[in-house]
Amino acid sequence: MELALEGITKRFGSLVANDGIDLVVAPGEVHCLLGENGAGKSTLMNVIYGLYRPDAGRILVDGRPLELTGPGDAMAAGIGMVHQHFMLVPVFTVAENVVLGHEPTKGPKGVGLLDLAGARRRVRELSDRYGLAVDPDALIEDLPVGVQQRVEILKALVRDAKVLILDEPTAVLTPQETDELIAIMRQLTAAGTSIVFITHKLREVRAIADRITVIRRGKVVGSADPSAPENELAALMVGRSVSLGVTKAPPKTGEVTVRVRDLVVRDHAGTRVVDGVDLDIARGEVLAVAGVQGNGQTELTEAIVGLQDAVTGSIRLGETELVGLRTREVLDAGVGFVPEDRTHDGLVGTFSIEENLVLDRHRAAPFAKGPALDRTALRANATQLIGDFDVRASGPEVAAGTLSGGNQQKVVLARELSRPLQLFIASQPTRGLDVGSIEFVHRRIVAERDAGTPVLIVSTELDEVLALADRIAVMYRGRVVGVVPADRHENLRDVLGLMMAGVPEAEAVAQAAAYPSEVEAAAADAGDDPVVTT
């Protein structure tokens, strides 16, 4: 099946997310869509999938125009989509999720009794055929992200999708899991399915793509061959030549002031989500925690700042024991914390910038005068920080929720970095930011390190970890698999990837040498060292 887009335009208010986009997806090809954050990739896919109504343009399937009133029509036309944020009902089983909207029924007509046995059979069948290894009776909320993604693929397969859209499927996978996904994609294209594959990661593109289209600010800015050099692709994406990587001086490591010992965090069900972690951080160094999302990194940082309830073990900050303190006391002890989800945990969206900038400091002078807030002090503080951190906003009284992601992140950073710190923790500091903002944030973090503050970074993006870290701790299932200095291995990326799957360092080194990652290999073939982070 051939899918063609002609002049697709989609606006959100005054924002033009897609601007006259033309695109052809040929049968059986893997068509890569490249673009930085906010370029309009997801929007375009949502249009193809019938979730958004385009303001102009049309969609052609095998040359015939396709009228979409909703995803139902798209699915009927053979278009399937795996969303960037999974569209699975957590309390349903795999089988229920797979058949939802497409349910086999039994019994008298019109009653619509569910045929769950039939659904399970079908899931097992497809799962076996493509080697997906999914248990139809498992509850989604109990499944790891990688498996959830395969459930999403099953959802498309069970509907006989001829075109499968994968929106940033690898963002949540280890390099090894990415290899598995690529194998599955190969099987699908071999069976005649075309795939639209969205990613920011250039080396994946080169491993699998048959064709590449680059989108910038809602427009198609070019297409490229998989063999094109990465610098060229990156420049196409961003619209200017990009500096790859952060320049930073070697660390001037001081004494160790942060000591985590035998830290255990239990979740509400009593599971040890952080399971006996030991870590040291010295003044003036960046320790980065790498790992696939959901392996206890979030809980680790939250335990340090007192946001987790069931914590045992010890976290020493200089002489102070942090375990057992309340969040407020931890922050007062000089810990700065940038949470991973800025809109959920970092900002009060309806509050103004100036209010957000004192969220954790409003109790004390100069912001409090007795029981009252000092509005003048708030304003002065905001004016200062907005300048220092280059926050693009029309004024300090603007609601933080209206800012773009990068500027929101700058507000959080400004708040956390604007007081003397003994420890700075940042989770996913650049998630969802564009290249310019990433540069800014990274420079700020490195500056804090250089000022002598111990820094703890958590990131699931290996590129970011490699760019910032002096040492790297890899977490897997709540444990630290190993701590690796940033300069120890040649093929650090491969080694870390294996460690993220739980393989101990020594073994990982051996394996990585024997079986270099396919994606890495593709990148290596092209002959340049890719460190583009977007």
């Binding site: 979730l51 569209m87 009902v89 957590p90 939802l100 497409h102 349910e103 909320e141 069900a269 599971t271």
Partner: protein
């Protein structure tokens, strides 16, 4: 409704293994109740025996009275309760789930012990107690079902109260005007659905906060029905003297001792209630429709991406919910052969809401919770006609206190549908 907040699933950690370790709190509550049973029913148990009349209500088979000796029964029941606490605690220590029968049995025993204690040497009719409790529960069950149907689809239904009241009003007027209780019965769900329609329009179409719409609709229906009662219905009394739907004995079934007259010699509306509970249960958990409804209530965007029209599903469900509650309203008028009276629902909609949450958003649970309310209310009424050790105000309070205890931990955290109360906006 704000119940969504405590019930939000905490972020699903991928690494979380599905081993649930049950908390000790329910055991503590049970232990406290067991101790109370020993002390009150045993230690301070009544000297005489409490008599329960087993026949009555037109039972075909006449049974002898059942006398239970006060203090001895109290001791036996108290000790049995303690034994059950031990069973549950042992299971918890061993990491096994407690036997499924343990808690219900505990509750049943405790209730019997309480009955013996409170009836204290007097005689009450068991059939009357149960049958009356069932009748009182009917509007609550319909109301709670209404809540289940609506909230499972993600729309908070505070307007149950107004739906009950509207159902009661219109059923009485239509039945009176046409002199046909059956037409009245048909009108009741229409009235409820009309209130549901307003809820749907404001909550789904205009995205007004669902709780606000619900609360305000209740006021609106109260004001309208009061106003029409004082003007139109008072001017012409023939508009408010509905024929009733009296009890219909089901052959054979109604002859079963005790349960027969309680369950199978009731108004048609009671039988409709049985059907409604069963149908909603099956529809919600066994049919395509139910799967879609639950998906819409849990993760509307996911439902949307597989081609389910989220807002249409919600709209339809809110209408069905309104109709169900409206039918419950008919029980107040037609089912009881009563004329419509001002504020006839008298807060039952709010109790139904509690019953729904207490019953964990399931039809069966709602039924059980509503029956509990009905029985407690009827017990209070019966006890106030004989002299008892407890002031009637405290008996009246009991179901409400029980609900507070329940939502505060006895039944564990109630998990509301994840998208309950959140409007769904398509691009």
């Amino acid at each position: 409704m704000s119940t969504s907040a405590p019930a939000q699933p905490t972020a699903p950690a991928a690494a979380a293994a599905p081993v649930e370790r049950s908390s000790a709190r329910p055991v503590w509550v049970m232990a406290a109740f067991a101790a109370l049973a020993l002390l009150l029913f045993g230690g301070f148990g009544p000297a005489g025996s409490s008599t329960f009349a087993l026949s009555g209500g037109g039972a075909a088979v006449s049974l002898p009275d059942l006398p239970l000796p006060g203090r001895p029964s109290g001791w036996v029941i108290g000790l049995a309760c303690v034994a059950l606490v031990v069973v549950v605690e042992l299971a918890r220590r061993a990491g096994r789930p407690a036997p499924r029968w343990a808690v219900p049995l505990f509750a049943a025993l405790w209730v019997v012990g309480f009955l013996v204690w409170v009836v204290a040497g007097q005689r009450i009719s068991l059939v009357g107690l149960l049958g009356g409790g069932l009748v009182l529960a009917v509007p609550l069950v319909f109301g709670a079902l209404s809540g289940v149907v609506s909230e499972r689809a993600g729309v908070v239904n505070i307007a149950i109260e107004g739906q009950l009241l509207a159902g009661a009003f219109l059923s009485a007027v239509v039945a009176s005007a046409t002199d046909s209780a059956w037409l009245g019965l048909l009108a009741a769900p229409l009235a409820g659905a009309l209130v549901g329609l307003l809820l749907a329009i404001f909550a789904i179409r205009y995205l007004v906060d669902q709780i606000i719409v619900g609360v305000v609709l209740n006021v609106l229906v109260l004001g309208l029905t009061n106003y029409l009662f004082s003007t139109v219905l008072s001017a012409d009394r023939s508009l408010n003297s509905p024929p009733g739907l009296g009890p219909v004995a089901i052959p054979l079934l109604s002859n079963i001792p005790v349960l027969g007259p309680v369950l199978f010699n009731q108004s048609v509306i009671v039988y409709l209630m049985y059907v409604a509970v069963a149908v909603v249960h099956v529809a919600l958990f066994r049919t395509r429709w139910g799967l879609r409804v639950r998906a819409v209530g849990e993760h509307p965007r996911a439902a949307d991406t597989v081609g389910i029209n989220v807002n249409r599903t919600r709209f339809v469900n809110v209408l069905i919910a309104g109709a169900l509650a409206g039918l419950g309203g008919a029980m107040l008028t037609l089912g009881a052969s009563l004329a419509f009276g001002q504020n006839m629902s008298a807060g039952k909609g709010y109790i139904a809401l509690a019953a729904m949450i207490f019953g964990r958003y399931s039809p069966k649970g709602a039924l059980a919770a509503a029956l509990l309310f009905g029985l407690a209310t009827n017990l209070q009424d019966i006890l106030s006609s004989i002299s008892t050790p407890v002031p009637s105000q405290f008996l009246l309070m009991a179901p409400y206190l029980a609900t507070v205890l329940a939502v505060a931990g006895l039944v564990g955290r109630v998990r509301a549908p994840a998208a309950d109360g959140q409007p769904y906006v398509k691009q």
